[in-house]
C-alpha cells in the first residue's frame, strides 16, 4: 500500500481506484475523481474546527444537527448565512415559521440603478438544520452564533455588471419555478427577491441531474434526494452522516463545469467565510474544538487556500461594502414560496416538515426551539443538553460500510400508509370525487406495488401520490383541486408563516395600532370586512384616512374599498372595506423600510414622484391631488404645486396636455368650492400654462409628433382658462399672435385652428360654413374630410359652442356625398372618431339628439335648422300696447327713466299707436272680453 492509500480511507480509496481501472476507458480521469472524493472527505474531517455539512430543508440534516448539538455543546457556531442578517435572528422568536429574513435596499449606491430595488431573502423553516443551530445558540447561555457568509451587499457586488438584471445571483440560489412553481398567493410570498439558503446541493449541470433522475427512476430532484440520501441518512450516526454528506458535496463539486462564474463566486464565498472564522477565532481566543461550522455540504469539500486553520494560508482581502443603505426585516414565507423560489418539487418542503416531526417522535427527541416561538406544535422549548461535551475521537472509515450496505427499509410504515389512504379518500370525497373505501384499499395496494416496481422496500410519499392519482383520478376533475394537489394538502399542506407583532417594523406596528378601533384581527390571513359609519362614530375617521393612504401605498388587494370613495372635496359618510393585511404582510413590512409612519412614506413617495428625472407636470398635478385627497397638508400641496409649475414651464412637449387640462380643471373647481382664494401655485400654474401653451402652439400645430388631441387640449386650456389668466395679468394678444403664427398642414389641425379663430371672433360662422362647403364640393379633398371632422370634434373641447355646427357639417356630408365616396368613407370616419375623440363623441351625439327630430312622425316635416329660411328680425320683446301696466308706466315714467339712466341707455318712449301685429290687433279688437277680464283682474290685484 502506497502513501496515497494510507489513512483511515486507504482501503476505500484503493477499492475505488481499482474499480476505475476495471471499468473506465480512461481510468486516470475517473480514478482522479473517485480518489478525490475520498481525499475531500479525509481533508474535511482533518480540520480541527468541526465542519458540519448540511443540506437545505433536509430533516436528516436537522436531526443530525440536533444530535450533534446535544452531544458536543459547542460554544461558538459559525453559520453560512449573510453576516449582516445576524441582528434579525433574535426576532424569529416572535414569528410563526416559515418566515424569511430579508435585506432590502431601494436607494442604490454602488450598484447599477436599474437593478433596484434590491431584495434578498433567506427563508427559515423549523425542520432545517440552521434553525436548530440558531435556536440552540440563542437559547443556550454562553453560546455565540456568528454568521460568516458574505453580506447581502456582496451578493450583488459580486454579480457580473453586464447582466441585464440580477434575477438569481449569489450562491445558494437556483432558478425559481422550473416546474415547482405554483401560482397563487402563497407561492408569490417572496415577491421577486433573490433567495439565499444554507446548504444548496444540486448537480452542477442539467445533464448530470437528468442522468441521476433517469437512473434513479424518479421524476424530481427532491424525490431523488429523498430516496438516495435523506432516507439512508435518517438514522445514521454522526460520523457516517458527516462523511457521506462531504462525499456528496465533493461529488457535485467535482462534477461541474470548470471555471464557471458560479464556481468562482462559491470559492470567493468560501474564502470569505474562512477569513471571517479565522478573524473571530483570533479575536475571541476560543478553542476551535469548541466550535462548529455549519455550512452546505458543497462548501465542506472546498479547495480554496484559506480552507482549514493552517497558519500559512494567504490572507483574503474582503472588499468594503458599497454605500447602499440596507434595511432589514422579517417577512412571512411559506412552503410553496420556498419550493417555487428554489425549484423544489411541489410539496417537498411540506413532506420534509412531516418527516422531521415523525423522526423526532421516533427518536424520542425534542427539537430546539426559540422561547416564545409560535407554531403548530405546542411543545416546550428544547430540552437542554445534559451530556457533557464529547472529546473528538479519531476518524474511522464509515463510508465503505455505508456505500456497500443495502438500503435500509425506509419510507412509510404500514399503519401510516393506511392512515393516508383513508384520509386521501375522505379528502377526495369532500372535493367532489366519488371515492370510497374500495379506493382506499386500491390506493394502498397500488402504492405498495409501485414501490416494489421502483426498487423501494416501502412506498414513499411520492409513490403514495402516484397511487392515489391512479386509483382515484378519473376522466374529469370534479372540483377545484385534482388528486395530486389533494395529496400535497394531505402530506402536510402548505404552511404559511407569520411575522409576529413584536418583530414588525415600527410602521407596520403603527398601522395595526391605528386600525385597532375597527375591532378586527388584522393579523389573520383571511379577508376581513370593515364597516365604518363615520357619521355615527367619528372616532373611525382617522382609520378611514389611514385606509385611504394604505390603498394608495399597498398592492390593490391589500385594502380594497367596497363602498365609499374619496375624491377631491368629497368624503363618504359610510365606508366598507375588504382588508387583507395579514395576507399582504410582506408589502406592509417593506413599506416599513421606507419610513416610520405611513404619512411620512406617502410624503416621500409624492415628493419622489415630482422630483425624479421622469417627473412631468401632469404627474405633479396628480401628486397634488393625492396630497389634498389623502394628507390634507397645505404645505406639501404648495410645495408639490410649485414643482408642477416648474415642470410645466420646463416641458418642451405637449404630450400630457390633455391630462394637465383635466387635472388643473378639477383642482381649480375644488379650490373655487373650498377656498376663499386660489393658492399662489395655482395662479402661477394658470399664468405659466397660458404663456407656455401660447408659446408652444405654433410649433405644436406643425409638429407631426404632436397629435390633434394634444393641440385640442392646449386650445382648451387657453380658452377655458382665459378669463382667469387675463385676470391674473396675462395678455390676450399673446394668444391672438400665437393663433396667427400657427400654420398647420394636417387637416385635423387646420380644422382646430379654424375653430380657434372662430372662437376669437376672427372667423365668422358663415365663412366657416362656406369653407367646409368648398371642401365637400372638392372631390380631391373629400377623402381627407374625416380628418377635418375629427379636428372639429376635438374643437368641441375648447369651443363648445361649435357643437351645432359640427352636427350640421356631418349631416351635410352624409346628405351631399354620393354613395361611392360616402360608403368607403364611413369606416374611416368611425375609426377616426374612435381614435381621436372617444370622450367627445357623447357630446356630439347629445347635440345631434337635440337637433334631429325625436320621432318618426315629425321627420317628414322636419327642416334642418341650418336649412330653414332666416327668420325675420323680431322686435326686442313683446310690446304691450294697452292695459293697466302700460297705463302705469305712461303715467309714472320716472322710475324706468332712472333705471335706464343708471344703466347708461337713455331710451326714448314710443307711442303704442302703430300695432306691430295687425292680426293680433284685429283679434283683440273683435274679442275684447278676455283682455278686459285680464285687465280687470290685474286692476283688482293692484287695487
Amino acid at each position: 500500500m502506497t502513501a496515497a492509500v494510507a489513512g483511515p480511507f486507504g482501503a476505500l480509496r484503493q477499492q475505488l481506484t481499482d474499480a476505475a481501472v476495471a471499468f473506465a476507458d480512461s481510468p486516470d480521469a475517473l480514478a482522479g475523481i473517485l480518489a478525490g472524493l475520498v481525499d475531500d472527505v479525509d481533508r474535511a474531517l482533518a480540520v480541527p474546527l468541526e465542519i458540519f455539512p448540511v443540506c437545505h430543508h433536509s430533516p436528516a440534516s436537522a436531526l443530525a444537527m440536533l444530535r450533534r448539538l446535544r452531544a458536543k455543546q459547542p460554544r461558538v457556531i459559525y453559520l453560512e448565512l449573510c453576516e449582516d442578517l445576524q441582528p434579525l435572528l433574535g426576532e424569529l422568536r416572535n414569528c410563526r415559521l416559515p418566515v424569511a429574513v430579508q435585506a432590502f435596499a431601494a436607494e442604490l449606491d454602488g450598484h447599477p440603478a436599474e437593478w433596484g430595488p434590491l431584495s434578498v431573502v433567506a427563508p427559515i423553516t423549523e425542520s432545517s438544520a440552521e434553525y436548530q443551530a440558531i435556536a440552540y445558540a440563542l437559547e443556550t447561555p454562553g453560546v455565540e452564533l456568528v454568521l460568516v457568509d458574505r453580506s447581502t451587499d456582496h451578493v450583488f457586488q459580486w454579480l457580473p455588471r453586464d447582466r441585464p438584471e440580477p434575477t438569481r445571483p449569489g450562491g445558494g440560489e437556483v432558478d425559481a419555478g422550473e416546474d415547482g412553481g405554483r401560482p397563487g398567493d402563497e407561492g408569490a410570498l417572496h415577491g421577486d427577491a433573490v433567495g439565499v439558503e444554507i446548504g444548496d446541493l444540486r448537480p452542477g449541470f442539467a445533464e448530470l441531474e437528468a442522468y441521476l433522475l433517469h437512473h434513479g427512476k424518479v421524476r424530481h430532484w427532491s424525490e431523488w434526494w429523498d430516496q438516495y440520501v435523506e432516507q439512508p441518512l435518517a438514522d445514521a450516526d454522526h460520523d457516517t452522516y458527516r462523511q457521506v454528506m462531504v462525499l456528496i458535496g465533493s461529488l457535485f463539486r467535482r462534477l461541474r463545469p470548470a471555471r464557471s462564474a458560479r464556481l468562482d463566486r462559491d470559492e470567493d464565498r468560501e474564502r470569505y467565510m474562512w477569513t471571517r472564522m479565522r478573524e473571530h477565532l483570533a479575536a475571541s481566543g476560543v478553542d476551535p474544538a469548541d466550535c462548529l461550522y455549519v455550512c452546505g455540504a458543497f462548501h465542506a469539500a472546498s479547495h480554496v487556500e484559506q480552507f482549514g486553520l493552517a497558519a500559512d494560508a494567504p490572507a483574503y482581502e474582503i472588499s468594503p461594502r458599497t454605500g447602499t443603505r440596507w434595511h432589514y426585516g422579517l417577512i412571512p414565507s411559506s412552503h410553496s414560496a420556498i419550493e417555487a423560489q428554489f425549484g423544489l418539487a411541489p410539496g417537498s418542503v411540506s413532506i420534509a416538515a412531516a418527516t422531521w416531526t415523525k423522526a423526532l417522535t421516533r427518536a424520542g427527541l425534542t427539537g430546539y426551539r426559540l422561547d416564545g416561538q409560535r407554531g403548530s406544535r405546542t411543545r416546550a422549548k428544547g430540552r437542554r443538553a445534559v451530556a457533557g461535551a464529547v472529546p473528538g475521537t479519531g476518524v474511522t472509515d464509515r463510508l465503505s460500510g455505508f456505500l456497500a450496505a443495502p438500503p435500509e427499509p425506509g419510507g412509510l410504515d404500514e399503519a401510516e400508509l393506511r392512515g393516508w389512504c383513508v384520509d386521501i379518500v375522505r379528502l377526495a370525497r369532500r372535493n367532489g370525487y366519488l371515492a370510497s373505501t374500495a379506493d382506499a384499499i386500491a390506493v394502498f395496494e397500488t402504492a405498495i406495488l409501485l414501490a416494489g416496481l421502483r426498487n423501494r422496500a416501502r412506498p414513499t410519499p411520492y409513490d403514495f401520490a402516484d397511487a392515489a392519482v391512479t386509483c382515484i383520478e378519473k376522466d374529469v376533475v370534479p372540483g377545484r383541486r385534482d388528486v395530486r394537489r389533494l395529496c400535497e394538502i394531505l402530506l402536510g399542506g402548505d404552511r404559511v408563516g407569520q411575522v409576529g407583532y413584536d418583530a414588525l417594523p415600527p410602521l407596520a406596528r403603527d398601522v395595526l395600532d391605528r386600525l385597532r378601533p375597527l375591532g378586527l384581527d388584522l393579523e389573520k390571513r383571511t379577508v376581513q370586512r370593515a364597516l365604518l359609519d363615520l357619521d355615527a362614530d367619528p372616532r373611525l375617521a382617522p382609520c378611514s384616512d389611514l385606509l385611504w393612504m394604505l390603498r394608495y401605498l399597498l398592492p390593490p388587494d391589500a385594502v380594497r374599498p367596497i363602498m365609499g370613495e374619496r375624491r377631491l372635496g368629497h368624503r363618504s359618510i359610510q365606508e366598507s372595506w375588504d382588508l387583507a393585511l395579514g395576507r399582504n404582510q410582506r408589502a406592509l413590512i417593506e413599506l416599513g423600510y421606507e419610513g416610520v409612519t405611513v404619512e411620512q412614506v406617502l410624503e416621500q413617495r409624492l415628493r419622489r414622484a415630482v422630483r425624479g428625472p421622469e417627473a412631468t407636470a401632469s404627474g405633479a398635478l396628480a401628486a397634488v391631488e393625492e396630497a389634498i385627497r389623502l394628507l390634507d397638508s397645505p404645505r406639501l400641496v404648495d410645495e408639490l404645486g410649485a414643482r408642477a409649475v416648474e415642470l410645466l414651464a420646463a416641458e418642451r412637449t405637449v404630450d400630457d396636455a390633455p391630462e394637465v387640462l383635466r387635472r388643473i380643471r378639477r383642482l381649480l373647481a375644488h379650490y373655487r368650492a373650498t377656498a376663499p382664494a386660489l393658492p399662489a401655485w395655482c395662479a402661477g400654474f394658470v399664468t405659466a400654462g397660458y404663456a407656455h401653451y401660447c408659446t408652444l402652439l405654433p410649433t405644436a400645430v406643425v409638429d407631426e409628433q404632436t397629435g390633434v388631441r394634444q393641440v385640442g387640449a392646449m386650445l382648451g386650456f387657453l380658452f377655458s382658462m382665459e378669463s382667469l389668466a387675463l385676470s391674473l395679468g396675462c395678455d390676450r394678444t399673446q394668444l391672438e399672435l400665437a393663433v396667427a403664427q400657427s400654420h398647420p398642414e394636417a387637416p385635423a389641425k387646420v380644422a382646430l385652428l379654424w375653430a380657434a379663430r372662430h372662437q376669437l371672433g376672427l372667423l365668422p360662422l358663415a365663412e366657416l360654413r362656406a369653407r367646409c362647403a368648398d371642401l365637400l364640393a372638392n372631390r380631391l379633398v373629400v377623402p381627407t374630410f374625416p380628418q377635418y371632422l375629427s379636428g372639429f370634434v376635438q374643437a368641441l373641447e375648447p369651443v363648445p359652442g361649435l357643437a351645432p355646427f359640427v352636427v350640421e357639417l356631418m349631416s351635410t356630408a352624409f346628405g351631399q356625398l354620393p354613395d361611392p365616396i360616402l360608403l368607403p368613407w364611413l369606416p374611416t370616419l368611425i375609426t377616426t372618431l374612435r381614435e381621436h375623440g372617444p370622450e367627445l363623441v357623447p357630446l356630439l351625439i347629445r347635440e345631434a339628439g337635440r337637433t334631429f327630430p325625436g320621432g318618426l312622425a315629425t321627420l317628414d316635416a322636419w327642416v334642418p335648422p341650418w336649412a330653414a329660411p332666416a327668420a325675420a328680425p323680431t322686435p326686442a320683446g313683446p310690446v304691450a300696447r294697452a292695459g293697466p301696466v302700460v297705463r302705469l308706466l305712461v303715467d309714472h315714467p320716472e322710475a324706468v327713466d332712472a333705471v335706464a339712466g343708471l344703466l347708461g341707455c337713455p331710451g326714448e318712449w314710443r307711442r303704442a299707436d302703430a300695432p306691430a301685429h295687425a292680426e293680433v290687433a284685429a283679434l283683440l279688437s273683435q274679442h275684447p272680453e278676455a283682455t278686459e277680464a285680464v285687465a280687470g283682474l290685474l286692476a283688482a290685484g293692484t287695487g
Binding site: 437512473h215 366519488l434 370510497s436 409501485l450 421502483r454 402516484d466 378519473k474 376522466d475
Partner: protein
C-alpha cells in the same frame, strides 16, 4: 411470422420475451409470464445499468410513470383504462403490456356502436344448438371470456364507442370475476383464473358520446396518456415506427433528418396554432397526434416509392401533410393556407433548405384540393 402483414407484439418480439423470461428472477404476480419490472423493461427498453446480456429496444415512448402505473394496476384488482387523444399510443401500449404479461395480445373486443353484450360474454353456434342443444361445446366464448378462462389479459378497444348497457356488462366481469351462463343447467359459470384483467382504451375526444357509468369507472384505474409534445421523444417515435414500416414494405429508402425535422416542426407549429385558436373553425379537425405524423410520413414514403423517384422529397411530404390534415373544406384548407403563407413562407426565405420545397409542395397540394 413472414406470412402476417402485421404480427402481434408477442410474435414480433418473441425472442426478446423469451430472453426476458429466461433471465427474470423476480417474483411474478398470478400467472404472469414476466415480473412487473421486466414488463417495464420490455416496454421502455433496457439500459446498461440493467445488466442484461442483450439490449432491449424501447417500444413505447412516453413518461415512465404511465407505464409503471399501468403495470401495477394490472397487478391489482382493477381494470386499466388508457384514455387520451387519438394517436397517442394507447392501443400500442395495451398491446405491449398484454404481450409482455401473458404472451397474448389478440383477445380484443373492438367497441363500436354495434357492439352487443354477446361480444363481451358469449354467443351460440346456432347450427350446433339445433343439432345438439345448448352446451359448452355449442357456446362461442367472447375474447373477454376466453381471457377469463385462460387467466390472461383481455383488451377492449374504444370502450366509449359502445353503448352504456354494453359497457355495463363489464361491471360484473370486473367485480365478481365470473360470467354465468343461465342457458346451461350445469357447468354454467365461467370463473376467471388468476391473472385475468382488462385493458380498455378510450378516446378523450369521444367524451359525452357514451359516458362510462360511475359503477364502471370505479372498477377501472384511469391512466391518461397525453399527446407527446417533447420534440426529442416525438422524433424517436416517428423514427421507430417508420423504420418498422419500411421493413414491413421492404422499402430501401432513407428519411433525411432535415425532412424529419420539418415534419416535427410543422406539427409543433400547427399544435401551437390550435392551442391559441378561440373557436373550432380556427383549429384543424385533426388531433395532430404523433400517429398522424407517422401516417403523413408513411404516406409520403409510399408515394415516393411507387410514384416518385424513390427519394423522399420535401414536396412529397408537404403534399402528404396537406392531404392528411385537410379534412374539412374550406376551414382546414384556410388554416393550412394561412400556415403556409404566414409561417412556412418566411421560414423558407430565411432558412431555405427543405422548407422551400415544402412550401412549393404545400401550395400545389392546396391548389389541387381547393
Amino acid at each position: 411470422m413472414s406470412e402476417m402483414l402485421r404480427a402481434p407484439a408477442e410474435v414480433k418480439y418473441a425472442d426478446e420475451l423469451d430472453y426476458l423470461e429466461s433471465v427474470d428472477t423476480d417474483p411474478k404476480p398470478f400467472s404472469w409470464r414476466l415480473s412487473p419490472r421486466m414488463v417495464r423493461l420490455f416496454v421502455l427498453g433496457s439500459e446498461r445499468a440493467d445488466g442484461l446480456d442483450r439490449e432491449i429496444p424501447q417500444k413505447w415512448f412516453g413518461d415512465r410513470t404511465f407505464v409503471e402505473r399501468s403495470i401495477v394496476t394490472l397487478a391489482s384488482d382493477r381494470g386499466l383504462l388508457l384514455i387520451g387523444d387519438p394517436g397517442t399510443g394507447k392501443s400500442w401500449l395495451a398491446e405491449l403490456l398484454a404481450a409482455a404479461i401473458c404472451r397474448n395480445s389478440t383477445l380484443v373486443v373492438q367497441g363500436t356502436a354495434g357492439t352487443t353484450e354477446d361480444h363481451i360474454k358469449y354467443s351460440w353456434n346456432v347450427s350446433m344448438v339445433i343439432a345438439r342443444g345448448q352446451s359448452r361445446e355449442s357456446m362461442i366464448p367472447s375474447p373477454i371470456m376466453t381471457a377469463m378462462e385462460q387467466g390472461v389479459i383481455g383488451r377492449f378497444e374504444e370502450l366509449t364507442r359502445s353503448t352504456s348497457d354494453v359497457q355495463d356488462a363489464l361491471i360484473s366481469i370486473l367485480s365478481e370475476k365470473y360470467v354465468s351462463i343461465p342457458e346451461l343447467n350445469d357447468d354454467n359459470i365461467v370463473f376467471a383464473r388468476p391473472g385475468f384483467s382488462v385493458i380498455a382504451t378510450a378516446n378523450s375526444r369521444d367524451r359525452g358520446v357514451n359516458d362510462l357509468s360511475s359503477a364502471l369507472k370505479r372498477r377501472f384505474n384511469f391512466v391518461r396518456i397525453p399527446v407527446v409534445t417533447n420534440k426529442r421523444s416525438e422524433a424517436e417515435i416517428v423514427r421507430f415506427r417508420t423504420e418498422e414500416l419500411l421493413r414491413r414494405h421492404r422499402i430501401e429508402l432513407e428519411v433525411p433528418p432535415t425532412l424529419l425535422d420539418i415534419l416535427l416542426q410543422s406539427f409543433a407549429d400547427l399544435r401551437t396554432a390550435a392551442a391559441a385558436a378561440t373557436s373550432d373553425d380556427e383549429k384543424l379537425e385533426s388531433a395532430l397526434s404523433t400517429a398522424e405524423q407517422i401516417g403523413v410520413l408513411e404516406d409520403a414514403i409510399l408515394h415516393s416509392q411507387f410514384f416518385g423517384d424513390r427519394m423522399l422529397r420535401a414536396e412529397t411530404l408537404a403534399g402528404s401533410l396537406m392531404g392528411s390534415l385537410a379534412r374539412r373544406s374550406p376551414e382546414d384548407l384556410a388554416i393550412l393556407n394561412k400556415y403556409l403563407h404566414g409561417v412556412v413562407e418566411p421560414r423558407a426565405k430565411q432558412d431555405g433548405g427543405g422548407w422551400e420545397g415544402f412550401l412549393d409542395g404545400g401550395r400545389q397540394a392546396i391548389a389541387a384540393l381547393s
